[in-house]
C-alpha cells in the first residue's frame, strides 16, 4: 500500500459535472478552450528570425503593397501552444477506434512518416534533371508495380491526387478510348448505392448519369442493368465490395454484359481493403479502378487529405493513361512527359491531370506499408478486416436492424439501419451517444438505399478487446435509443462541444474571421 504523506483522503464526488461551478477560464482541466489566431495574434509579432535583406532597387514594376494584409503572427511558443491546444479537440485513430464506413481508418504506421521525410524524397524538386531523380522514379515505379500485381491489371496512372480525381482519370481514359474509335457515347450508369463522387465525377467528365437500382438483398440488379445497357453507354461505375458491405457476386457477368455493348467497367476501389491480397479486380473483368492510398495503403487522412488515387487499367484502356508516367529502360528510369510521348509510343495518352507527377509523399508512405506487409501480410489485412466486420455484424444484429444480414457474410463493413428506434430517435442520436462513449461514430445516412444507415468499418488494425468494447458501447447506446432515453438527445455532453447548429451555419455563412469594429477593439 502506498503512503499518502499529505494526509488527504479521497472522497466520492457528491455533485455531477453539470452542477460544478464554471471555471474562470472556461477550461476544464485538460480540456482547454482556445481563441482564434485573429483574437490572440498581432501583425507585428512573428515566430521567425530572418537576416537583414541587402538594400537593392526594387524590380516589382511599381506594384508594392500599400495596405496592411491583416495576417496576425505569434511567437513560436505561442504558436505551438495554440495549435497543440486545437489538436486536443480532435479525435484521431491514434486516440481510439474510428469505424467510419467507406473511409478505412486504419493505423498509420510512423515508419511511413519517417521515410517520407528523407531529404532524398521530401527535399526533391519535381523538375530536377531526371538523372538526379532516379531513386524517386524507381520508387514511383515500384509502387506502380505493386498496385498492378495486387490488382492483376497491366496499366497504371500514378498522378491522380485523390480518389475522386482517380475516378475522373478512369472516366477520361474511357472517353478517350471511345473517341479513338469515333464512338461518341453519352452516358455513365451508376448504382443508386454509389458514393456521391461517382455521379459527380461522371458529370464533371461531361457525361449524363443514369441510376441502376439495387435488389432487395443489396446488390446491383443485373436485369435492370442489362435493360439500361446500350451503345449510348460509355461505362458503368460499380463499387465492389459495394457500399452495403456486400461482394457483387455477379461481377463477372456484369462485366461481360457491359463489354458486350462495347462499354467499360469502372470499379470504385474505395473498398479495396476488403479484398487486397485475396482477390484481383483484373480477374473480375474490371477495366479501370482507382486505389485510395489513404485508405487501403495507410497514408494518413490528415483531417481531409492529402490523398492519392492511382488508377489501374486493363489492356484495352492502358494506352490512354495520362501523363506523366515512369518507365524502366534497363537499369534506368525514364519520366515520360509531353515531349517524349511520341518517341515512347504513348501518343494515345489522354493528356495531363496535374502539374508535376502526383503525390510523391504518399507513394513513399504506401511503399513502406506494402513492403512491411508483403504479399502474406496484405492477404491477412483483407481477411482480418472482413473477419472483424462480420464479428461486429453478428454481435449486434440482435439489437440493431441489419437490413442485409440475411444476404450472406458482409465484407469489410457492417451495415445497420435505424429501424426499431423509439419515435424521434435516429442514427444521429446513436452517433452522438458513441462520441460520449469515447468512439468516433460510424458513417451516418450512407448508403442512401438504407433508412438511417450506419456503416461500420472496423479495419484490420483493431484488437479483439477494442472491438468488444465498441460492441458493448454501441449495444448500450442502441438500447437507450430504442428505449427513448431523453438524455441521449443531449449527447454528446462530454465532447469539447455540444451538438452544433449546422442549419444556422448554412443560413448565414461566416467563413472568415471579421475583425471587430475599431471602437470595440479599443475597449
Amino acid at each position: 500500500m502506498t503512503v499518502n504523506p499529505s494526509g488527504w483522503r479521497p472522497e466520492a464526488p457528491t455533485n455531477d459535472i453539470d452542477a460544478a461551478p464554471a471555471t474562470f477560464t472556461g477550461n476544464k482541466a485538460l480540456m482547454l478552450e482556445e481563441a482564434l489566431l485573429f483574437e490572440i495574434g498581432s501583425i507585428d509579432r512573428t515566430g521567425v528570425d530572418l537576416p537583414e535583406p541587402p538594400k537593392v532597387a526594387s524590380r516589382l514594376n511599381g506594384l508594392e503593397r500599400n495596405r496592411t494584409i491583416g495576417l496576425p503572427g505569434l511567437s513560436e511558443p505561442e504558436a505551438v501552444r495554440h495549435y497543440t491546444r486545437l489538436s486536443r479537440q480532435n479525435y484521431g485513430i491514434d486516440l481510439g477506434f474510428f469505424p467510419l464506413g467507406s473511409c478505412t481508418m486504419k493505423h498509420n504506421p510512423r515508419l511511413n512518416e519517417k521515410m517520407a521525410r528523407l531529404p532524398g524524397f521530401a527535399d526533391l524538386h519535381p523538375l530536377t534533371p531526371v538523372d538526379g531523380t532516379q531513386g524517386a522514379l524507381a520508387l514511383i515505379h515500384l509502387v506502380g508495380e505493386w498496385l498492378k500485381t495486387l490488382t492483376g491489371m497491366p496499366g497504371i496512372a500514378m498522378s491522380p491526387k485523390a480518389g475522386a480525381h482517380g475516378e475522373l482519370c478512369g472516366l477520361l481514359a474511357i472517353r478517350a478510348a471511345h473517341e479513338a474509335t469515333g464512338d461518341a457515347r453519352t452516358t455513365i450508369l451508376v448504382p443508386e448505392s454509389a458514393h456521391g463522387t461517382n455521379p459527380a465525377t461522371a458529370a464533371f467528365a461531361g457525361y449524363a448519369v443514369e441510376s441502376i437500382p439495387a435488389t432487395a438483398e443489396g446488390r446491383v440488379d443485373l436485369d435492370a442493368l442489362k435493360a439500361k445497357l446500350g451503345t449510348h453507354v460509355a461505362g458503368v461505375m460499380i463499387t465492389n465490395p459495394n457500399t452495403c458491405g456486400l461482394f457483387e457476386r455477379d461481377m463477372i457477368e456484369i462485366a461481360d454484359a457491359i463489354h458486350a455493348v462495347g462499354a467499360y467497367l469502372y470499379c470504385d476501389g474505395a473498398n479495396f481493403n476488403a479484398i487486397v491480397g485475396s482477390v484481383r479486380p483484373g480477374d473480375l473483368g474490371v477495366d479501370a479502378m482507382h486505389i485510395n492510398l489513404h485508405k487501403t495503403f495507410s497514408t494518413p487522412h490528415g483531417g481531409g487529405g492529402p490523398g492519392s488515387g492511382p488508377v489501374v487499367f486493363s489492356e484495352a484502356l492502358a494506352p490512354f493513361a495520362p501523363l506523366p508516367f515512369v518507365e524502366q529502360h534497363g537499369d534506368a528510369f525514364v519520366l515520360v512527359e509531353e515531349e517524349t510521348v511520341a518517341e515512347e509510343h504513348h501518343e494515345k495518352a489522354f493528356g495531363r491531370m496535374v502539374a508535376f507527377h502526383g503525390q510523391m509523399g504518399m507513394f513513399v508512405r504506401a511503399a513502406a506499408y506494402m513492403m512491411s506487409h508483403g504479399a502474406d501480410g496484405l492477404r491477412q489485412v483483407s481477411e482480418d478486416a472482413v473477419l472483424s466486420a462480420n464479428y461486429i455484424l453478428r454481435s449486434l444484429e440482435d439489437v440493431l436492424d441489419a437490413p442485409f444480414g440475411a444476404s450472406g457474410p458482409c465484407m469489410h463493413e457492417a451495415l445497420f439501419s435505424d429501424d426499431g428506434m423509439a419515435p424521434g430517435f435516429s442514427t444521429l442520436d446513436i452517433a452522438k451517444g458513441l462520441i460520449d462513449e469515447g468512439f468516433h461514430p460510424m458513417t451516418m445516412y450512407f448508403p442512401l438505399v438504407v433508412h438511417g444507415a450506419m456503416l461500420i468499418e472496423p479495419t484490420e488494425t483493431e484488437s479483439k478487446a477494442a472491438l468488444d468494447q465498441f460492441i458493448g458501447a454501441l449495444r448500450s447506446v442502441a438500447e437507450r435509443a430504442k428505449a427513448g432515453d431523453p438524455a441521449l438527445k443531449a449527447a454528446p455532453i462530454h465532447a469539447p462541444r455540444r451538438r452544433l447548429d449546422e442549419t444556422a451555419a448554412a443560413r448565414k455563412p461566416v467563413l472568415v474571421y471579421k475583425d471587430p469594429p475599431l471602437a470595440t477593439a479599443a475597449e
Binding site: L63, G303, M353
Partner: protein, 454 residues
C-alpha cells in the same frame, strides 16, 4: 506481423461468434475462379521495419536533394525554409490521423484551423472568402474556369501565356472532354507584362467566361491586373488570377485588390516543402457573392447547444455527397494536412515575417540578377520579377542545365523542359532565388554557367 493485433485465438473466437468455420466462409460470394488460394506470388513477403527502412533510404540517396548543392529550381515549386515546429504540429496524431470533420463536436481542432486557413488565404489574396483547400494549384485553376463557366454561363476561357504550362496542360486536357473552349498562347522572351495585358484586354469579348492570368507569370514578370479586370467586367467576364508563389504577396499587391474575381494558387511555398511535386495544397478564394458556386469544402462558424462558438463544415449542398451529379465539383478529399502546415507556417510568419521574407527573397534575387547577367552572353528577360526571373542564354538551355547538374549545381529549369519543341523559348532558363540561397550559391551558379557556356 507488427501492424495486425488479432491473434490466432482471437480469430478462432470471432469465427465462433460468426458461426463460420474458417475465414474462407466469409469470402463465399467471391466467384471461386477469382479467389486467390494464397499470397500473391511475384511479391515479397512481409519485412521488418529495419529492412524496409534500409531499402527506402537507399532509394532516397539516389536523388539530388535541393539541400545537397547550390539550388535554383522554381517554376511552380519553391524551396523555402520551413520552421521545425510546423512539422511537429502536423505530426500530432490528433491532426495526422483524423478524418474530414464530419462529426464537428470532436473535430473542432481541424475545423478551427481550417477557419483560420480560410481567413489567411482570403486576406493574402485580397478576396472575401476562401475554401478549405484543393488538391493543388493546377487543379484549382481548372476548377476556377469551371466555376466561371457556371457563373457567366459562357464556355470560352482565355489563358494568358504567362500561365504555368502544366496548368495549361491540365486545363486543355479537361476542356477537351467538357467542351469548354480555351484560347491559349505561348509566353515570349521578348515580351513584357504590359504587352501581355494589352493582348488579353484586346482578346476578351462577349463570349468570354474568364481570363486566366498568373502573377508573377511563368517568366517572372509582375503585372498590374487592374485594367484587365476592368476590361473583363465591361464584357461580363470574370478575371481569374493564379498565384504559384504565395510568398510574393508579402510584397506585391494582391490580385483581389487589383480586381480579380477568383484567385487560386499553389500554397506549397508556405509550410509544405518540395516533395517531388506532391502533396501540395491548392488555394481558392473569391468574392462573397460567388461563394455558392465555389468547389470544395468550407468551414463556417456557428454555436453549439450550450451557446458556445464552434465550427462546422457548411454549404455542403454544393458538394458531391449531397448533390451527386449536380455538385459544383467532384472533389471530396482535399489537402487538409498541407492546409494546416500552411496555416501554422503563416501564423509563425505573421504579416511582419511574411513581408520580411518576401523582401529578403526579392533582394537576394535582385542581387543574383546583377551577378548572373555579368556572365558573358547571358541577358535578363524579365522586366520585372519577384524571386524568379528568366535568363536568355546564348545557346539552348536544356543541355546547359544538365551539364551544371553533373557538376553539382542545380542551376534552374530550362524552358525547353516546360515547352518542348518551342524553338523561340529554348534558350530560356528559369532561375529562382529564395531565402535559402546564399551568395556563395550565386557565385557557384555564375561560375557553372560560364563554364557550361564556354
Amino acid at each position: 506481423m507488427r501492424y495486425l493485433p488479432l491473434q490466432p485465438e482471437d480469430r478462432q473466437a470471432m469465427l465462433g461468434v460468426i458461426g463460420a468455420s474458417s475465414v474462407d466462409d466469409l469470402f463465399v460470394d467471391v466467384p471461386a475462379a477469382a479467389r486467390l488460394d494464397g499470397p500473391i506470388r511475384d511479391l515479397p513477403m512481409h519485412q521488418s521495419e529495419q529492412a524496409v527502412e534500409r531499402q527506402l533510404t537507399a532509394l532516397a540517396r539516389k536523388n539530388q536533394a535541393a539541400s545537397d548543392q547550390p539550388f535554383f529550381l522554381g517554376a511552380g515549386a519553391y524551396r523555402h525554409h520551413v520552421p521545425a515546429s510546423v512539422d511537429h504540429i502536423i505530426q500530432r496524431g490528433e491532426f495526422l490521423t483524423s478524418y474530414t470533420p464530419y462529426q464537428p463536436e470532436i473535430a473542432q481542432g481541424t475545423l478551427q484551423a481550417l477557419f483560420e486557413f480560410q481567413t489567411q488565404v482570403a486576406r493574402l489574396f485580397g478576396c472575401d472568402v476562401a475554401n478549405a483547400s484543393m488538391y493543388d494549384g493546377s487543379t484549382a485553376c481548372w476548377e476556377a474556369i469551371v466555376m466561371a463557366r457556371r457563373i457567366t454561363k459562357r464556355g470560352k476561357a482565355i489563358l494568358s501565356g504567362g500561365l504555368h504550362p502544366h496548368y495549361v496542360s491540365v486545363c486543355t486536357t479537361m476542356a477537351r472532354f467538357t467542351g469548354d473552349v480555351l484560347e491559349t498562347s505561348l509566353p515570349s522572351l521578348e515580351g513584357s507584362a504590359e504587352k501581355e495585358m494589352a493582348k488579353l484586354i484586346a482578346a476578351v469579348d462577349g463570349e468570354t467566361s474568364c481570363v486566366v492570368v498568373q502573377n508573377p507569370g511563368i517568366l517572372g514578370r509582375i503585372a498590374d491586373l487592374s485594367e484587365l479586370a476592368a476590361a473583363c467586367h465591361a464584357k461580363g467576364a470574370l478575371l481569374v488570377a493564379v498565384v504559384t508563389e504565395p510568398v510574393s504577396l508579402g510584397l506585391i499587391r494582391s490580385p483581389g485588390e487589383m480586381g480579380a474575381d477568383i484567385v487560386v494558387g499553389e500554397g506549397q511555398s508556405i509550410g509544405v516543402g518540395l516533395n517531388f511535386g506532391g502533396p501540395y495544397v491548392g488555394l481558392f478564394a473569391c468574392a462573397d457573392k460567388h461563394v455558392r458556386q465555389m468547389p470544395g469544402r468550407l468551414a463556417g462558424e456557428t454555436v453549439d447547444a450550450a451557446g458556445q462558438r464552434g465550427f462546422v463544415l457548411t454549404l455542403s449542398t454544393r458538394e458531391q455527397h449531397i448533390r451527386r451529379e449536380k455538385a459544383t465539383s467532384n472533389i471530396c478529399t482535399n489537402s487538409g494536412l498541407c492546409a494546416l502546415a500552411f496555416t501554422v507556417h503563416m501564423t509563425l510568419l505573421g504579416e511582419k515575417g511574411l513581408r520580411d521574407l518576401a523582401t529578403l527573397n526579392h533582394a537576394l534575387a535582385v542581387e543574383a540578377v546583377e551577378v548572373l547577367t555579368k556572365v558573358p552572353g547571358v541577358e535578363l528577360c524579365s522586366d520585372s520579377f519577384f524571386n524568379e526571373f528568366i535568363l536568355k542564354l546564348p545557346k539552348e538551355a536544356r543541355p546547359v542545365v544538365r551539364d551544371m547538374a553533373e557538376k553539382g549545381v542545380l542551376g534552374g529549369v530550362s524552358l525547353g523542359r516546360l515547352y518542348p519543341g518551342v524553338e523561340a523559348l529554348e534558350k530560356g532558363l528559369v532561375v529562382a532565388v529564395t531565402e535559402t540561397t546564399t551568395r556563395d550559391d550565386v557565385q557557384a551558379l555564375a561560375a557553372a554557367l560560364e563554364e557550361a557556356l564556354a
